[in-house]
């Protein structure tokens, strides 16, 4: 509708006529419907555009002259395309695939990177991050005490607000559920200019400790748990073990930040005031009218400088202002999508090369026609223009198919992404075709028309007229250098794509099925977060864990059960700075960091991490016995390179000395950036935490244990939810889903590239064979054997393929270096992959050359010679 009106406004320059037409259409709209409206608008615009201006008999103005020429060219091009429907369809189809792939990736970048937040003016919302001495702190690492000082002092921004991650356990009618939530200060919704759909937003008073028992829920939660009941406002629910009142419901699709379902006020017990050293909140704000991000940056720098003077903890700290979109951008997303866009563009280039080759062949067929027209006085410019019009029309014909293809791909991407990943990627739910995608596709189509149309068009206008006419219609077979070069280029750029995809596939397989350092099969995992309101002290945590193990262990099928604070391959991590007795760190202010795992006895044998030396933890390692630790091999190597770590002692800032009692094998916790990270293991009883995973091994199917274990846990605490219940294999899969995605898309692109390059080679060889029919016939007549003819033709394909592969290998090596630098994980430039894919490419290319070669060998010499 909007598009139709826009079109009409463009087509009808006369205001009075436009008013009449729009009025007429609108009057009929209720009776006839939108489809009718669009069709009418299209017809009217088309008629208005070809309508001759001015009165009959008056001389045409120059603008009309060009319009007429354009229309004539379009008409001519249309007829010429319709004469070869199969060629036209092939070109439009090929191009549609290439354009569609690019359009889909463009949409991903547009929605996930450029404007992930559905805000009216995203550039007015800022994110403030702290910069520390030495390093840039992450966006979610602001000290809450600093935030409150910023809020008190800032004048260039308003609604400056903070939020902090919060695992909420919601209980309502005895149905515990763990929700993704955030604790926020008043003003967060206002900074984003979003109002609750029901009830109210938070106010400053809600931040007061003791009056902070209020929550706001998401539309999703309202629908799922409360059946869209408007009376939910004022309802009391149990959140984190205490009563809370629902005061607001947010509008549909609002889930900032990162898929939140519930929000509570960020509030501090006066006994534990906001910290200036532990940095864990995210701060955003809205620019006041007339202020710029530079104003805000200048002001925040001043405030930060003042804080750095006033508080020793803040010495060396500053603030950086980003736009929200820029500040929240995940570092990996940009490079990954850029890689896709580059691959998609290569596929499009190969498609263009194929089309250019087809059109070159066609231009050769039309050389005589062109020569006649030139002889009769047509300008070379006219011919060039007509051919470019033809390419443009061809390219535009591919656009609808391209958009449909992009739509399908985006749909496939959306449905195949697991829900619990989808909700953490802002912008994912809004993937889909829009006006920007359509404009991008049309612009790219016009660009490709230039790429594949210019060469043949220039070629057609260039020939010598007299000679072509004298040749008497025989097409010359000598000058195919250009077409050969194009095919070589196609093969050369297909190979790097194939190799990259191949390396990616290998990398992912390694991730999923390579050695992990433990045995991921037969394990069921689940997570719990115990709230400090219900479990306030270490004793209550230990009691819960003891009861849990006692309840789960007897379940039929459970071989072994253990608790760990961060299970392998989970997203989170815990780490500690360590100070080793007898090995003072070179810089006492900057102690080395190791990963920390707190486990219950039996963990190592359950996940099958070997104890290389020393002993395992036992039930005798208790809170009241000597603190002990087991260290990983990598930790032992790093910190005790020359002596035996067993019996040695080290300490962390919070704990006194602990003794190393064993050395265990290394595991791969995180494939992306942590291999064999030095890790210390502690007995859970000595270092209890409320945030942990339960892992159990079973000889049978791990997922069959889920239901009985859930029941057993409800028996321990009926208000305690468990979440992310899945097999270890599934957890690994979800952990690597991003990489698998990357690789899957690259593989599709590589496949398309391979097919397109083979088709290009096939078309060229077929064409050459057809051109040399006469010559081949003669050779056969003079005694050449079929095998010799076959060899001759295949040799031609072989030379082209080898040339393309050689160039391609160089490109592939360069590209794999680049990817290794940018994407940790897809690494290992395995020479076998290069050789294998060069082989695949050569084999496919030879197959594409074999078919026309067979045809050449089967030429009947008598028939071939007679045709001349």
């Amino acid at each position: 509708m909007k598009f139709a009106d826009w079109l009409l406004a463009r087509a009808l320059k006369n205001d009075a006529e436009r008013d009449m037409v729009l009025g007429d259409l609108q009057e009929e709209l209720p009776r006839r419907g939108r489809v009718w409206y669009a069709r009418q608008a299209l017809s009217i615009a088309a008629h208005a555009l070809v309508r001759p201006r001015g009165l009959p008999g008056e001389p045409h103005r120059s603008g009309d002259f060009f319009m007429r020429i354009l229309l004539r060219d379009v008409k001519y091009a249309w007829r010429s395309l319709m004469k070869r429907p199969l060629l036209t369809l092939t070109v439009a189809g090929t191009l549609g695939l290439g354009l569609g792939a690019n359009a889909a990736i463009f949409n991903l970048i547009d929605r996930l990177v450029l404007r992930p937040y559905p805000l009216d003016d995203p550039d007015r919302v800022l994110l403030f991050a702290e910069t520390g001495p030495g390093a840039q702190y992450k966006k979610d690492e602001v000290a809450p005490a600093n935030f409150y000082d910023w809020r008190a002092a800032a004048t260039t921004t308003e609604f400056i607000s903070a939020y902090s991650y919060w695992d909420a356990n919601l209980v309502d009618r005895n149905d515990p559920e763990r929700l993704q939530g955030y604790q926020i200060t008043a003003g967060l919704f206002e900074a984003l200019s979003v109002k609750p759909a029901l009830g109210r937003s938070f106010v400053r008073d809600d931040e007061t400790f003791g009056r902070n028992n209020v929550v706001i829920i998401s539309d999703v939660l309202w629908k799922r748990r409360f059946d869209r009941d408007p009376a939910v406002i004022g309802r009391r629910v149990i959140v984190d073990g205490g009563p809370s009142e629902i005061v607001g419901v947010m509008p549909p699709r609002f889930n900032f930040p990162e898929g939140s379902d519930i929000w509570a006020p960020l509030s501090f017990d006066p006994k534990t005031p906001p910290s200036r050293t532990v940095r864990y909140v995210t701060a955003i704000a809205r620019l006041k009218a007339g202020r710029t991000i530079a104003d805000a940056q200048a002001e925040m720098s001043l405030i930060a400088a003042r804080l750095a003077r006033g508080y020793p903890e803040d010495r060396g700290f500053g603030v950086r202002a980003y736009t929200l979109t820029r500040g929240m951008l995940d570092e990996g997303t940009g490079p990954m999508l850029s890689l896709w866009q580059a691959s998609a563009f290569i596929v499009l280039l190969i498609a263009c090369a194929n089309i250019a080759n087809l059109l070159l062949a066609r231009a050769a067929e039309r050389r005589r026609e062109t020569a006649v027209r030139l002889a009769l006085g047509a300008g070379r410019g006219d011919i060039l223009r007509e051919l470019l019009t033809e390419s443009t029309l061809l390219a535009l014909a591919a656009v609808p198919g391209a958009i449909a293809f992009a739509w399908l791909s985006l749909y496939a991407i959306r449905v195949s992404m697991p829900a619990n990943i989808l909700r953490f990627v802002p912008g994912f739910e809004s993937l889909g075709p829009d006006l920007r995608l359509v404009s991008f596709t049309i612009a790219l189509a016009l660009l490709t028309a230039l790429i594949f149309g210019l060469l043949p068009a220039l070629r057609a206008g260039a020939g010598a007229v007299a000679e072509t006419l004298k040749e008497g219609g025989r097409t010359s077979s000598g000058r195919q250098l250009l077409r050969r070069s194009i095919v070589i280029a196609e093969i050369a750029i297909a190979l790097p794509l194939l190799v990259t995809a191949g390396l990616g596939v290998l990398g992912t397989r390694q991730f999923l099925s390579g050695p992990q350092g433990y045995d991921p099969d037969g394990l069921l995992t689940m997570k719990l977060v115990l709230q400090s309101r219900a479990y306030p002290d270490p004793a209550s945590l230990r009691l819960f864990v003891d009861k849990t193990i006692a309840a789960v262990q007897p379940i039929a099928g459970v071989e072994n059960v253990s608790i760990i604070n961060n299970m392998p391959s989970s997203g989170g991590n815990a780490s500690r700075r360590i100070d080793i007795d007898g090995h003072p760190a070179p810089d006492p202010k900057n102690l080395p960091v190791v990963d920390l795992r707190a486990v219950t006895p039996g963990y190592f044998s359950m996940v099958k991490i070997p104890i290389m030396r020393g002993r395992d933890f036992t039930t005798a390692d208790r809170e009241d016995t000597a603190p002990v630790a087991i260290v990983s091999e990598s930790m032992a190597r790093k910190f005790w390179p020359n002596d035996d770590p067993i019996g040695r002692r080290f300490r962390t800032p919070a704990e006194g000395p602990m003794t190393v009692v064993g050395i265990c094998g290394d595991i791969i916790h995180d494939w992306f950036n942590r291999r064999n990270t030095p890790t210390m293991y502690r007995p859970y009883r000595q270092l209890p935490t409320g945030n942990f995973a339960i892992m159990m091994r079973t000889p049978g199917d791990p997922s069959s244990l889920a239901a009985p274990v859930r029941r057993a846990l409800l028996g321990v605490d009926p208000t305690q939810p468990v979440f992310e219940v899945m097999t270890m294999r599934r957890a690994l899969h979800e952990r690597t889903i991003g990489l698998q995605y990357l690789v899957a898309v690259m593989t599709v692109f590589a496949g398309i590239a391979l097919v397109l390059a083979s088709v290009g080679l096939y078309a060229l060889i077929s064409y050459l064979v057809a051109q040399r029919r006469h010559e081949i016939g003669l050779r056969i007549a003079l005694g050449a054997s079929r095998a010799q003819v076959l060899q001759l033709t295949i040799g031609q394909a072989f030379r082209l393929t080898i040339a393309g592969t050689a160039i391609g290998l160089v490109l592939a090596i360069a590209l794999s270096r680049l990817i290794q630098a940018g994407l940790i994980g897809v690494g290992s430039s395995d020479a076998r992959v290069f050789v294998a894919f060069a082989g695949v490419l050569i084999a496919t290319a030879l197959l594409a050359g074999y078919v026309p070669a067979r045809r050449a060998a089967a030429i009947d010499p008598m028939a071939a010679l007679r045709t001349e």
């Binding site: 009075a16 006529e17 008013d19 009449m20 037409v21 729009l22 009025g23 007429d24 609108q26 009057e27 009929e28 209720p30 009418q40 017809s43 009217i44 615009a45 088309a46 008629h47 208005a48 309508r51 009165l55 009959p56």
Partner: protein, 107 residues
């Protein structure tokens, strides 16, 4: 004496439809009249082109009615046939009748 006006077939049909509709002749009823009486489907775009052309040739005059809410506050444009066009229509009809005379039996 102004130059004689030549009317194409579609132009004649449009003018006749406008005449038949009297005071109520705006685009939509003109289209419907042509459809029901002449049995011809004319594209809306072609009709606007014809109306524009006829007006610039001096065959039609248009006046603007009251703004109507169902048209989004826009007014209808009503068309009337000018005396010159009426004359041209009559002349065209007479010329055709003269040419038809005597050959009806052959068809």
């Amino acid at each position: 004496m102004p130059d004689p006006i030549y009317l194409g077939e579609l132009e004649q049909i449009v003018l006749l439809a406008v005449l038949r509709l009297g005071d109520g002749a705006y685009a939509t009823p003109i289209l419907e009249e042509i459809q029901t009486q002449a049995g011809r489907r004319v594209a809306r775009g072609a009709l606007y082109t014809a109306l524009d052309r006829l007006e610039s040739k001096g065959c039609l005059r248009s006046r603007v009615g009251e703004p109507l809410p169902e048209r989004g506050g826009r007014a209808r444009r009503y068309f009337t046939v000018t005396p010159a066009a009426l004359r041209a229509l009559k002349e065209g009809r007479l010329a055709l009748l003269r040419l038809w005379r005597g050959i009806e039996s052959q068809l």
